[in-house]
Structure formats: C-alpha cells, structure tokens
C-alpha cells in the first residue's frame, strides 16, 4: 500500500494494482489448494492494511 502511494505520487494518472505471487491464508484453518488465483482489494484502515479476501 505504501509503495502504491509512492507510485501514485510519482504518476498520479497511473492505474495501480498489486501483484503477489503467493499470499498468506492466515485466518483460514487450512487451504484447499496451493494454486488458487484470487482477485481482491487492499485497504488502509485504522493504521494498518487489510486485504480482502
């Protein structure tokens, strides 16, 4: 999120998206598959970044 902010400041008209090769599923008790392509959003709330899903 901070990197997106820096990039936004440098290039305000850019369409910025985040790509992560692998994400943490820390809230789920287990995973069904390692390969699980997911689209979502990251928000900054109350001083921390939250990813959904």
């Amino acid at each position: 999120m901070a990197a997106a902010a820096v990039l936004y400041q440098a290039i305000p008209r850019a369409h910025i998206r985040a790509f992560a090769l692998i994400r943490t599923e820390g809230l789920a008790p287990d995973i069904d598959s390692i390969t699980a392509p997911t689209l979502g959003v990251i928000r900054y709330l109350g001083g921390d970044a939250f990813r959904s899903p």
Binding site: L7, I11, I16, A20, S33, I34
Partner: protein
C-alpha cells in the same frame, strides 16, 4: 603554514545558528505517519495473487504450501520458473484478463525491512520506487502493478523493466529449510 580556512567563504563560523523550526501541524504529521499519503481517502488497491499458503495449518498440503513460500522468498530459480509458467497459463486462459493487460509494467516493491521511522523512505531498498518518475516509466504505458520483486540468487532485479536497486534483501539469508520444489506441482490443481 597557510591556513586553508582563510579562503573567503570557507571560514568556520563560531556562531551556532538556532535550530530550524519544525513544522508540526496536523497535516505535516499525517504525511509523516500515514504511509498511504497521498492516496485518496478510502482508496482500494486491487490485487491479484495466484498462489496461497497456510502459515499455521498442519496438513500435508499446508506444509507444502509453506515450502513453496520459502522457495519463493529465497527466489529459487526452479520454483520461480514453475510459478511463471503457471501464471502465464492463467493469463492465457483469461483468469484475470483485466488485471494483467499487455501494456502493464511491473514495479518491484522493496521487502519490509527496518528503517528510520522518522524517514520511512530512507532505506536503500525503497529507492527503486522512490526514483520512479513519469519520464522513466513513459514507454510502459499507464498501467502499473506493484508486487514482490523476482530476484535471482544474487539479489538482482530482472533485466526487463525499469532500472531498480540490486541490493540483496536482508531476510533472504534467514530461510534455511530449503527443499526440492518438484513435489509441489504433482499434487496441486
């Protein structure tokens, strides 16, 4: 013996200037403490992640996912090659067609490392994004995706794309439980 400081303009002043007045208004403090400045309020950053891992689960699949995580973090070339092939397949099969258009430019994001909280972008790892300017990014169009850098074993960024820092991440040497990556791809869909 001549005194070099006798030159005009090179003299050492014996008068100590008062400290510069700090600007501590609320807007300035917000810019220092809010890492999302200047993003608009309520900004939502879209993301795409093709693989996942479980940090705590004890199943065999979870253990394999953690091994994949370790190998991705240590930039294992075989694992990254497999992952790249999988992601390419996803792109060709239109898994996320609007997310990875042909004119997208990948901007590697520095890893999270300790730095001076009074100057969050002072870290050398932050220099790649900090130095990104519209001029240098012009040929890549207006689509940008920020993501973890794909570095090789020497910590070098990919040859394609923008000119980024080549500093080796500090945390890459702390991962010691290296295992062969071949076992991941036989059981995952």
């Amino acid at each position: 013996m001549e005194d070099d400081f006798d030159e005009p303009g090179l003299g050492v002043s014996d008068v100590i200037a008062p400290p510069a007045r700090r600007n501590t208004d609320h807007k300035s403090l917000a810019r220092i403490t809010d890492p999302t400045h200047p993003l608009p309020a309520g900004y939502r950053l879209p993301f795409f992640a093709p693989f996942c891992y479980s940090p705590y689960a004890t199943s065999l699949l979870a253990q394999r996912s953690r091994r994949l995580r370790d190998q991705v973090k240590r930039a294992d070339p075989t694992t990254l090659a497999h992952c790249t092939a999988r992601v390419a397949t996803m792109i060709h099969s239109q898994v996320a067609p609007e997310f990875l258009p042909p004119d997208v430019a990948l901007v590697p994001v520095p890893r999270c490392i300790p730095c001076d909280p009074r100057n969050p972008i002072s870290s050398p790892e932050a220099s790649p994004v900090r130095s990104t300017t519209p001029v240098s990014a012009g040929p890549f169009g207006q689509h940008y995706a920020v993501g973890a850098p794909s570095r090789n074993r020497r910590g070098r960024a990919p040859a394609r794309g923008l000119n980024f820092s080549t500093t080796t991440p500090r945390s890459s040497s702390s991962i010691t439980n290296y295992q062969r990556p071949d076992s991941f791809w036989s059981t995952t869909s």
